[in-house]
């Protein structure tokens, strides 16, 4: 199996060459066919299919790399869902047709990575814009009030990345959880809970520091903020996951939650 960083390089090259702002604007009308075909050509859809079955033979850490990059580059279509369905043994046609809904933990896991990616993109775009946009005779990023906001955004984005990455690692270690009693459940629940909750401050800060230009269709910030607003409720809102985690924590009582977190 190839290392994380080799896969990341491949994915970055394809995504950043293809998924330009102009392409994304066009893809809203023309669909995701071309992107999915190119992703299929380099085997991204079969990353979770074993090599003996003609797949890439990758791990859930590889799946994180792909799903996160899809969010960060606003990839059109449902490559992450197709990737998981192929890994469950479905054919390419089946996977594409049924890509819309996954079992709850798998869907929550994927969304957490896509959301972490979208948050990272909003951070990078916000930092760049605040370094360029001048008001009062200097870049707005020179103002402490703006710096504090961007630092907060960076912390939230890092938190989403870490929580999601850990959930993928736990699924790799213990298998995809079917329910609350399975060992990887808590990490998946935490990842989606945090990512959904942080979608709000992340988008508020990113749009806030961009001012009116970020609110225009032409500028393209919505390629990252609109999905975050949609994904935060898909496969469980943060309140749904918090309730499930909390009921369990209270029922299990002292020490058990710590034991579960460190299992």
């Amino acid at each position: 199996m190839t290392s994380d960083s080799l896969l990341l390089d491949t994915v970055e090259r394809l995504f950043s060459e293809l998924l330009t702002p102009e392409y994304l604007a066009g893809a809203e009308r023309s669909g995701a066919g071309e992107f999915l075909a190119l992703a299929g050509e380099i085997g991204l859809d079969t990353v979770l299919v074993g090599q003996e079955e003609g797949g890439y033979g990758g791990s859930w850490s590889d799946a994180f790399v792909i799903a996160e990059a899809c969010g960060r580059h606003a990839a059109p279509g449902h490559l992450p869902e197709i990737m998981v369905r192929r890994g469950m043994g479905e054919s390419a046609e089946q996977a594409e047709r049924r890509s819309g809904s996954l079992p709850l933990p798998a869907g929550a896991l994927l969304r957490s990575a896509q959301m972490a990616g979208a948050a990272q993109a909003l951070l990078e775009r916000s930092v760049r814009y605040c370094g360029e946009r001048e008001q009062f005779g200097r870049p707005v990023g020179r103002f402490q009030a703006v710096q504090q906001q961007l630092a907060e955004l960076a912390g939230y984005a890092a938190c989403m990345q870490a929580a999601s990455r850990r959930a993928f690692a736990e699924v790799q270690r213990h298998g995809m959880p079917a329910g609350e009693d399975d060992p990887a459940w808590l990490a998946v629940a935490i990842a989606k809970c945090r990512c959904s909750e942080l979608a709000h401050p992340v988008t508020q800060i990113a749009h806030g520091v961009h001012g009116a230009i970020g609110f225009t269709e032409e500028f393209g910030l919505q390629f990252f903020s609109l999905p975050l607003w949609r994904w935060r409720a898909e496969y469980g809102r943060h309140t749904d996951w918090a309730l499930a985690i909390g009921r369990r924590a209270i029922a299990d009582g002292p020490n058990a939650t710590w034991a579960a977190l460190t299992r």
Binding site: G131, C159, A162, A163, A242, L243, R247, P254, T257
Partner: protein, 374 residues
């Protein structure tokens, strides 16, 4: 987690279950804020201090991630680790990196045995967040250094054997040039006066430390003369990223879970608790990724600042969360429940969590610099 980390976790849990059997919740609630030399000695005997230090100096020779397991288990259980905490976390690693061979042989084994208490002399009366403005000066003499000035808010100075101090030794173009780190023997150096300062909880843990023509030997200098700022910055990555930045209230949180279970708390409480557990889990994931970077020799100052900023905000929220969910008010009186006594202490101490080791505003300034904005 590396192989062996889980076995180690079991060993630490068994040790703590035994060692903390008679330690009341009010002491466990304080965790790394509580000094207990006997407990530290037991930790040392069990081999849990200096776990990642080289074996030739009495350390455990294990990885940063294994050390992380020991730390988080101590914090989760509310072990009173304050006596050896700074030595294990930052002073030991500093001496190992910059100290002479002789110094390493003299000091590190005693740290590992849990015998030594260190304090960190950074802040001064006019230099808090603006640390680079500090004025306490070490001047060269024929046989060493003469120190004059005052350090303040120095946690554990009144108990400590040694201070790792940052003094001005020269002038540079920038204020953070001309600073150097020193190892100060607090027990045998004339000209040092230590005055404890009572905090708002009535405890004495931080101090004013006066240097009045205090004479240090030539070899008290740690690392390179006038390169103290870079060394301190490295040290702060260790100081800011660890699990003590989100687990300071864990003994209270754990007790809160017990109270809620007993009272068969409903969904309002469950949702709030679940949100807190999610924050805890995510912070742990962030902190672990910093520990992995430290293990591979990086100095992740930016990520460390993020862990501390978000982590201390989380741990500060726990006493307030407890008050929202349970109608048992904080109380210091002897007749109150242990839970109420712990809540009382943590309510008062919580504001200090985001002050010690750099305030939130300073940390976010560091993050902004890392983002290229300053």
């Amino acid at each position: 987690m590396p192989e062996g980390a889980e076995a180690l976790r079991g060993e630490v849990r068994a040790f703590l279950a035994d060692a903390l059997r008679d330690v009341p919740l009010s002491e466990r609630a304080l965790s790394w804020d509580a000094c207990n030399p006997d407990f530290s000695r037991r930790m040392g005997e069990a081999g849990f201090i200096g776990l990642s230090f080289p074996e030739e100096y009495g350390g455990g020779g294990r990885t940063q991630l294994e050390r992380f397991v020991v730390l988080e288990e101590c914090l989760a259980a509310g072990a009173p680790t304050g006596f050896h905490w700074f030595a294990d976390r930052q002073s030991g690693p500093l001496i190992l990196r910059y100290g002479s061979e002789e110094l390493k042989r003299k000091i590190i084994p005693r740290i590992c045995r849990g015998e030594l208490c260190f304090c960190i002399g950074m802040s001064e009366p006019d230099s808090g967040s603006d640390l680079a403005s500090l004025r306490t000066r070490a001047t060269r003499t024929s046989s060493g250094w003469r120190v004059n000035g005052t350090k303040i808010w120095t946690t554990n100075a009144h108990r400590a054997h040694y201070m790792i101090a940052l003094f001005r030794t020269g002038e540079g173009q920038r204020r953070n040039e001309g600073l150097s780190q020193f190892l100060v023997d607090l027990r045998s150096t004339p000209g040092i006066r230590i005055a404890p300062i009572r905090d708002i909880a009535g405890r004495e843990h931080f101090n004013e430390v006066h240097f009045e023509d205090a004479l240090l030997a030539e070899d008290a200098l740690i690392g390179a003369e006038n390169e103290g700022w870079a060394q301190v910055t490295e040290e702060l990555a260790l100081e800011r990223s660890g699990p003590e930045r989100y687990l300071s209230c864990h003994a209270l949180f754990n007790e809160l879970l017990g109270v809620l279970k007993e009272r068969e708390a409903g969904d309002t409480a469950a949702e709030a608790i679940g949100g807190a557990v999610a924050q805890l889990g995510a912070l742990r994931a962030m902190s672990l990724s910093v520990a992995a970077k430290l293990e591979s020799g990086e100095s992740p100052a930016l990520e460390a600042a993020m862990v501390k900023d978000m982590g201390t905000r989380f741990e500060q929220s726990i006493p307030s969360l407890a008050q929202e969910l349970v109608d048992l008010p904080p109380a210091a009186s002897a007749g109150a429940l242990p839970y109420q006594q712990a809540l009382h202490l943590m309510t008062i101490l919580a504001p200090s969590f985001s002050l010690r080791g750099g305030s939130g505003e300073i940390l976010r300034g560091i993050i902004a610099r890392g983002l290229g904005l300053r």
